[in-house]
Amino acid sequence: MTQQGTLNFSQVNKQFNSNNGNLKVLQDINLEIKSGEFISVVGSSGCGKSTLLRLIIGLDAEYEGAIELDGNIISGTDLNRGIVFQEHRLLPWLNVAQNIAIALQNAQLSQEEKHKTVQEHIDLVGLQGFEKSYPHQISGGMSQRVAIARGLVNRPRVLLLDEPFGALDALTRTRLQNELQNIWEKEGITMILVTHDVEEAVFLGNRVVVMEPRPGRIKSVLDVDLPFPRDRTSYDFLKIKKEVLKEFGGHLAAEISHAEAPVWSTGEYKLSW
């Protein structure tokens, strides 16, 4: 099986030119993403992480440098790159099945195949029975699941997620993070997730890319060498989370170390103080 879903960023720079001067949004972005990797990009507002996603998906084509997918420079949008936005952006006049199917509008598949794969992806995100429901009838979490199904239905080589769970409540967020991890393990698609939630980034990613703003650039890339499925309460997990938080400035990490209590993981006792 050929390596699919590798991304390469070489010296990617972007600036917005306006009457008030030029705003450098991305500076010297260099990154290599391997096939099937899950990359979390964390950063505070204004660090250019969403802009970076828009460049990859092809909604924005003005930048310097090169972004390559499997060795080919990307240009414009393409069905082999999928995206899930923060707002689910489901079309209100279509039901769940039709919303997913609209992604296959221009796919080279027969009607039967389209129907089959739409149903497969509805099952994948756990929405069986809701095929004919409309967006205004389902909850925010369900809508975002439809958006994920829609992003995956073309079997893209890379799926981008722009703070997909940001608008959801904490319980739904946690549940969807677990589900996304399951889907990723099952499908093996390269995924790039942008978030400002450090725990989410560490939970989901093979590597965490920390970005800082003004101008947006990569500060560091940390490996998350933990087995899947991840355990949020394990000592190792919290250790890595603390490392990432350290990247954001000393005071945040200090707060965490004060709050650290003895951690008990299931099955064995580990004391940490």
Partner: protein
């Protein structure tokens, strides 16, 4: 659900009929008390009797048929022109900038002011009336369609672009459906003004049959009972036309979140 005795009335389905019934009662009382000259304000029963007569001799049906025909032809033309031009102006930024100022200016001109022009160009019969109806109703449809297309959340268009939709696909699958609520707002106004325009046209271009003609004839022979009956029929027909549109709207826009 427990409801206060006092609030119970509010929940009855036919509460809207109470006010007109009261007005009719007051009207009849005024007539009986001989406060007004009966030539000016005939009895409710006289009006009903006129109505009977018109229904029996077929005149009401003739007039209603003719008026509705004019109305629907004019409205169809107005919808066709208004929606297509509205979409064109909305989709093409350049076209909007070039043509909108002109349309915004023309729409300020009352259709009545155009009657001398229309009668010269179209004559005094059906074509003139239909032209009048079109002029009366096309602009609200056009403007609301335009705003519907312009006001679409850019988010949805981006979704279309991500899935490589052609411009035509974008229009059919995203822009048009998203603009439909606005278009219906324009259609409501269009239905309203086209009916107004129909009656107005019949006042000014008096050749032919129509509900407006019934009223004009009644006025000319000082038959207020005819006039009042005609007014009722016009009012009720207009109301029913709007209800018909609302019904179609509810079916097509079922996906909209009801903000009640």
């Amino acid at each position: 659900m427990t409801v206060n005795k006092q609030n119970y009335f509010v929940y009855l389905p036919w509460r809207g009929i109470v006010f007109p019934v009261i007005l009719i009662l007051i009207w009849q009382l005024i007539y009986l008390a001989k406060i007004a000259n009966p030539v000016f304000l005939p009895s409710v029963f006289a009006v009903i009797e006129q109505g009977h007569r018109l229904i029996d001799n077929g005149q009401l049906w003739e007039g209603l048929k003719a008026s509705l025909y004019r109305d629907l032809v004019g409205l169809s033309i107005a919808i066709f022109l208004g929606v297509s031009i509205g979409i064109a102006l909305g989709v093409s930024r350049l076209a909007g900038k070039v043509f909108l100022p002109t349309f915004n200016t023309i729409k300020q001109v009352s259709p009545f002011a155009l009657i001398p022009l229309l009668s010269f160009w179209f004559g005094l019969h059906e074509p003139a009336k239909i032209a009048f109806i079109v002029v009366s109703s096309v602009f609200p449809i056009m403007i609301n369609t335009y705003e519907g297309v312009r006001g679409i959340a850019f988010d949805y268009v981006e979704v279309g672009r991500v899935y490589k939709m052609t411009t035509f696909q974008l229009l059919r699958k995203i822009i048009l459906p998203a603009a439909t609520p606005s278009i219906f707002r324009g259609l409501h106004l269009g239905v309203f003004f086209s009916w107004l325009g129909t009656v107005g046209a019949e006042y000014f271009f008096t050749a032919g049959a129509g509900l407006g003609n019934i009223i004009v004839d009644g006025r000319n022979s000082s038959r207020m009972d005819l006039v009042l009956f005609g007014v009722f029929v016009i009012g009720i027909t207009g109301y029913l036309l709007n209800i018909g549109l609302s019904y179609a709207e509810k079916r097509l826009l079922h996906w909209q979140i009801q903000k009640q």
